[in-house]
């Protein structure tokens, strides 16, 4: 069974932006909100040089890493274009206006 953790509301995350969630002893997670109000969660590290993706420019369903402008697909964590690499994703869902992320995958991905 997936264990879901409530991390806040949609309004807590700026549109076309991200917020970060710190988990004791684990890697930080970035929770993104796109212009069409979809929410995605990824480990807050670019596969290239570990840049904090939460600080990048969110466009469409991608984020441009703030360090070297790699574009990462929010849905899959995969680097786009000619760049190769993948950031672990964390399952996320919305329920009654609350944002929930999956606990086991969060742990596994961040481990």
């Amino acid at each position: 069974m997936t264990d879901w953790i409530d991390i806040g509301t949609l309004a807590d995350i700026p549109q076309r932006g991200a917020r970060t969630v710190q988990i004791t002893g684990e890697k930080e997670i970035a929770v993104f909100r796109t212009s069409d109000d979809k929410v995605f969660a990824l480990v807050n590290e670019c596969p290239h040089k570990k840049g904090p993706l939460s600080q990048g420019i969110v466009h469409g369903h991608s984020v441009a890493c703030p360090l070297h402008n790699w574009n990462i697909a929010l849905k899959t964590g995969e680097a786009q274009g000619n760049d190769e690499g993948c950031t672990p994703t964390i399952a996320v869902k919305e329920e009654g206006g609350r944002i929930l992320i999956a606990r086991p995958t969060a742990l596994k991905a961040a481990a």
Binding site: G17, Q22, I57
Partner: protein
């Protein structure tokens, strides 16, 4: 392509009665709305558009889509709309009747009619069977349980997505290309995936053992379980699938089982119609079956004893077929095949025979740290096979050598290092490598496009990747040859690639200057408005155009435009400089490079209080505090504000510093008060946003200690006044300034500075420094605007000062007071209890 078996009867959604038109042309009926059937029609239309009246039956309730791209759809990289090859308009424009969602169930060759599932009967003059292939379902107990599917069409993808939405375990039976793509997609969608492969090597038809092992290791690294040499005994479950049992007794629980063990030509319809069928429907060189009025093309056919499951041979078949139907006689010749694939994002290439054997020599290169494996098989000084893993750039070259049976005796020692070395060029220049390919070398395996054809279409005017894709289709399917096509564009066109106005980014067909002009002309007031009115092709732009549009609007509408923080690069959004570890550095402003004990104490206190690991003197004459966390930034700024310091904008496309020397107040050579003028200049210009960073310096004498002649705006004081210099740069390309003019008073120097800055703000393109801007427009133009046109200069200066009246509010003070705190604070932390 399982057109005949998968769709349910409920999917017929067209009008019920097919009304024969009064069209007198011969009627060509196509059974199968997939890649081969539609491609054949495309080829036919290209040769003789009006010759046949065309009706296409498809089992799936969709228009023609690119089946190869189902994997990216599963992986979430593309949507269904992205993989449509021919939209409804294509059918309409070419007057093709599409009957989708209604599979053909019978052919009457005597009456020359076909009958569909819904009972519709249609007559034909020529019939084209393009039924593709059916997934092979291994005959084990439980194969019919709900939750056991193949990976062949959009319906399968939908089933997988639905299963993945619930999470849990999936088993993929088959470790070939299709199986691995399915496993990759399901893994990305969050399922725990086990791949069961009967053979000992993954993709054993394309890879040798070593490459197969590298692939297996890489996939395991992504969390998949790969079981090779594993034989499925049964699929178990009560009413729905619950798991897979292997011959050795192992049970693997799964809520979804994907069978991807292979495909077989879909021949049932042809067989029932009495056509000659062996493994596939037998055809001649023009794809004609044993009945001269019935043709067949694609994965369902057998030509010269061979059946094909790759795309490229199918395209050749479609060309031969269309030639035959339009009375041009060329005929299909079976191909030598090569495979260049991206399996789950990993590059893999193979060609020819790599099984080894008598008289074969292997040349092998392994680079463990890069995960590269290359093996070239040579026999009698000829390349007969190649397997590449991790670095497939030379695949095309090896395949070319193989097809031309070229003697490689002389380059044998260098062969494995690739074309650039072996051809003696020495330099590893991908353009040289592409230039050296022969004209018939294949560039795009998916669409069977040779180098000669790509070059031809570039020479006919296709000057961009998109144009090449639109004309000869190279790189339009899987995209793995995009790099080759881009190199060809560069080889053929030199600097003229993408000739015509360079667009701002891929989101728009407009250039920077056009966008800017339209923003002003149409009085546009927001980024969404610009995107709407100028037909942006993306919903919300990209990381190139958004910051540019934000700047253009800010510049056009001072005091009115509301800055869009999410369209700012991180440094400007955070008002600090991001460092490689994700922390920030903070540079408070020191006017003209001057400081005092109070400021220095405040900086020292911040360094200690926030445990900053480093503090450094910058090239712009101020201090840079490193290692500050984003959540601490507002507090750091509050402390610095308290000592009277404001943001130094060391992070912005904005005025950075005004560097000075000590000037006449102290220096025995000083001619004017350069420090004083520097402070005044910085007080006037700070806080202004620019197309790019902007640096000013004031030197007190021609010895130029403040290095004013490599700044965007530099003042060199002389006895008789002030020399004003513009367009210098100390970056990658060092450029000394051009002399703008000489003025006699300090106030004039300030006025000219304001006017020049505003001209740059209004006319340079975003991310264009003053140096390239001046080289583009010419220094004479700048002189004409600033020096010769007194009224124009005064107007520019007035606009600059007006704009500055809104921009000289310290952003740090706003943030320290709590503005936009969500940019600095984490969400509530999560404490995970030990499980």
């Amino acid at each position: 392509m399982d057109f005949q078996n998968n769709a349910g009867p409920e999917t017929a959604n067209e009008e019920d009665i097919f009304v024969p038109s009064d069209d007198v042309r011969e009627h060509l009926v196509v059974v199968g709305n997939g890649m081969a059937g539609c491609r054949a029609i495309e080829e036919l239309l290209a040769r003789d558009a009006g010759r046949y009246r065309v009706t296409i039956f498809g089992a799936e309730p969709y228009v023609n889509y690119n089946r190869i791209m189902l994997s990216p759809v599963l992986a979430g990289e593309k949507s269904f709309d992205d993989i449509i090859i021919n939209s409804r308009e294509w059918y309409d424009d070419n007057q093709i009747e599409l009957i989708a969602g209604d599979p053909v169930t019978g052919i009457d060759r005597t009456a020359k009619t076909v009958t569909s599932q819904s009972g519709r009967t249609v007559g034909y003059d020529k019939l084209l069977i393009a039924t593709g292939s059916d997934p092979f379902i291994i005959p084990v107990p439980g194969k019919d349980l709900p939750g056991v599917i193949s990976f062949r069409d959009m319906k399968d993808v939908d089933t997988m997505l639905e299963a993945a939405g619930k999470g849990g375990n999936a088993v993929v039976i088959g470790g070939g290309l299709l199986g691995l793509e399915a496993a990759h997609g399901l893994t990305l969608r969050g399922m725990k995936v086990t791949v069961i492969h009967l053979m000992d090597t993954l993709m054993e038809r394309q890879l040798d053992e070593a490459a197969g092992w590298l692939l297996k290791t890489a996939l395991e690294g992504r969390g998949q379980t790969i079981l090779t040499g594993a034989n499925t005994e049964s699929i178990y479950g009560d009413g729905k699938v619950e798991g897979v049992r292997l011959k050795d007794g192992t049970e693997i629980p799964a809520s979804l089982v994907v069978m991807a063990v292979g495909i077989r030509p879909s021949t049932a319809l042809a067989r029932e119609a009495g056509l000659d069928v062996n493994r596939g429907i037998k055809v001649d060189d023009h794809m004609v079956t044993s009945d001269p009025d019935v043709l067949a093309v694609g994965e369902c056919v057998e030509h010269d004893g061979n059946v094909y499951g790759l795309v490229a041979p199918l395209w050749d078949m479609c060309r031969s077929l269309a030639d035959g139907l339009t009375d041009q006689h060329t005929g299909y010749k079976g191909p030598v095949t090569s495979t260049k694939l991206k399996v789950a994002g990993l590059d893999v290439f193979s060609a020819g025979d790599f099984s080894g054997g008598e008289g074969c020599e292997d040349i092998v290169l392994r680079d463990a740290s890069r995960g590269v494996y290359k093996r070239v098989v040579v026999k009698d000084d000829k390349v007969i096979g190649a397997v590449l893993y991790g670095d497939t750039a030379d695949g095309g070259w090896y395949f070319d050598l193989l097809k031309r049976e070229e003697d490689v005796g002389k380059i044998r020692d260098l062969l494995i290092f690739g074309q650039a070395f072996a051809s003696g060029g020495g330099a590893l220049d991908p353009k040289a490598a592409v230039a050296a390919l022969s004209d018939d070398a294949e560039i795009c395996g998916c669409n069977g496009v040779s180098k000669g054809q790509v070059v031809g279409c570039i020479e006919m005017g296709a000057c961009s990747l998109d144009a090449v894709r639109a004309t000869c289709k190279a790189s339009a399917s899987c995209g793995s040859c995009t790099g080759l096509v881009e190199n060809l564009l560069a080889v053929v066109l030199g600097d003229d690639v993408q000739s015509g106005p360079k667009t701002m980014c891929k989101c728009t067909s407009f250039g920077h200057d056009d966008v800017r002009r339209e923003i002003v002309a149409q009085n546009m007031r927001s980024i969404p408005e610009v995107m709407q009115k100028l037909h942006w092709s993306t919903p919300d732009g990209c990381s190139s155009c958004r910051p540019a549009l934000n700047y253009y609007l800010l510049c056009a509408l001072p005091g009115e435009y509301v800055d869009d923080q999410q369209s700012r690069f991180v440094n400007e959004r955070m008002h600090a400089n991001i460092q490689k570890d994700g922390t920030y550095s903070v540079v408070p402003r020191m006017w003209g490079g001057l400081t005092n004990p109070r400021e220095l104490r405040a900086i020292a206190d911040v360094v200690e209080k926030y445990d900053a690991p480093m503090v450094k003197v910058t090239g712009g004459q101020r201090l840079d505090i490193f290692g500050i966390k984003k959540e601490d930034l507002p507090a750091v700024w509050a402390d610095l504000n308290a000592a009277g310091m404001v943001s130094g904008h060391a992070y912005g496309k904005s005025l950075r510093t005004v560097k000075t020397c000590v000037g006449s107040e102290w220096c025995r050579f000083g001619t004017q008060d350069s420090t004083g003028l520097g402070v005044k200049t910085e007080r006037m210009t700070w806080g202004s946003w620019m197309p790019h960073k902007f640096k000013i310096a004031v030197s007190g004498c021609p010895r130029n200690c403040a290095e004013a002649t490599i700044k965007d705006f530099g003042v060199v004081c002389v006895d008789s006044g002030y020399e004003l210099h513009v367009g210098g740069n100390g970056g990658i390309h060092v450029r000394a300034t051009d002399l703008l003019c000489k003025v006699s008073t300090e106030q004039e120097a300030l006025d000219y500075c304001a006017a020049f800055t505003q001209l740059y703000r209004e006319e340079a393109r975003y991310l264009e420094r003053t140096a390239p801007w001046i080289e583009r427009v010419g220094v004479d133009y700048v002189k004409q605007r600033i020096v010769e046109d007194d009224a124009g200069r005064e107007a520019l200066r007035a606009r600059f000062l007006y704009s500055q009246s809104f921009s000289q509010e310290d952003p740090w003070a706003q943030r320290a007071a709590g503005a936009e705190s969500e940019l600095h604070q984490h969400l509530e932390p999560i404490a995970i209890a030990a499980e």
